[in-house]
Symmetry: C2
Subunit: 205 residues, 2 copies
Amino acid sequence: MTDQKATNVHWHEGDITREHREKLLGHRGATIWFTGLSGSGKSTIAVELEGILNEMGVLSYRLDGDNVRLGINKNLGFSAEDRTENIRRIGEVAKLFNDCGVITLSSFISPYIADRDAVRELHAQAGIDFIEVFVDCTLESAESRDPKGLYKKARAGEIRNFTGIDDPYEAPTSPEVHLRSDEQSMQEEIDAILAVLRERGIISA
Amino acid sequence: MTDQKATNVHWHEGDITREHREKLLGHRGATIWFTGLSGSGKSTIAVELEGILNEMGVLSYRLDGDNVRLGINKNLGFSAEDRTENIRRIGEVAKLFNDCGVITLSSFISPYIADRDAVRELHAQAGIDFIEVFVDCTLESAESRDPKGLYKKARAGEIRNFTGIDDPYEAPTSPEVHLRSDEQSMQEEIDAILAVLRERGIISA
């Protein structure tokens, strides 16, 4: 747990609540948390889902590993400690977006169970749906895609602490959605996620 | 400037852009940045504005000093360095919300010109409107309100680095909106802000 450093701060309850914003938007806020190896297809699926939700009139926002690391988390690297702080901050940002009524699509390797569970707990405490989507595929499959050439660099020793090579990936034990990106079609993957959003009443129809 | 620590990261351009989300919402994203002494009325005005925007069907979200310090910035205190990092992260979060099409209402003391200007520059680079609202009032007026009893504690030496007492407040030199919360009515203050939002085409009518 991160210590609460500032004292004399209290949660400010405004007149306008999450419910007001969700009513304005016509759907509920939630976090869809994609986790999986680099190259597993997390961002590809998130981008596709974002387009489909937009067509449905649903406001979603994609928090992407690369985008976030160029902004809010630009002062973090890839040590275990920095990875934990990276995921912690992203979880907090996702929670703010959910409170605004937005569905966040977070696609980060997020390799450690403890970090993902901390984000899950953060959402649970706020009464916000947290949908963990495990984008599963073999290391061979992810490495053969290698869309950014990162595995090649990791194998050459040019990148250290690379998940799947010299840093572990801890697979989810009970994700809300378990995809096999090396076996399923994009349509099947999207349908599996939309089904959960409908089941939970996050989106209608 | 904060150094960019992670390498091998690139801005991911999704198919769905800010323009798509703004079209869905019917208004543009922007940041309204309230700055002023503790007790100047920043949060009170932001809460009022939030309610009015919601009635207009405009999606806004209030980033509040206290709320943020309990979440994304819980590992930051009140040293000059931590204040700078506090404002930097808030600026980055505001920018993400704007990219989502949301109008953020940020109410933080944000006492240093350099920090506010860094956030302004961040928004300028992204082509996002940054509206600095200086909630001006005399120290005497703020201290007499003292809604959280913080001035009293600061005067007693129980709180250190308190803006206006033993830490400086650097007033904006050319804010987009200059309010006098010890002289103007709430209606006048709200009208002044809405006028700028309309002038810039952030909201219609």
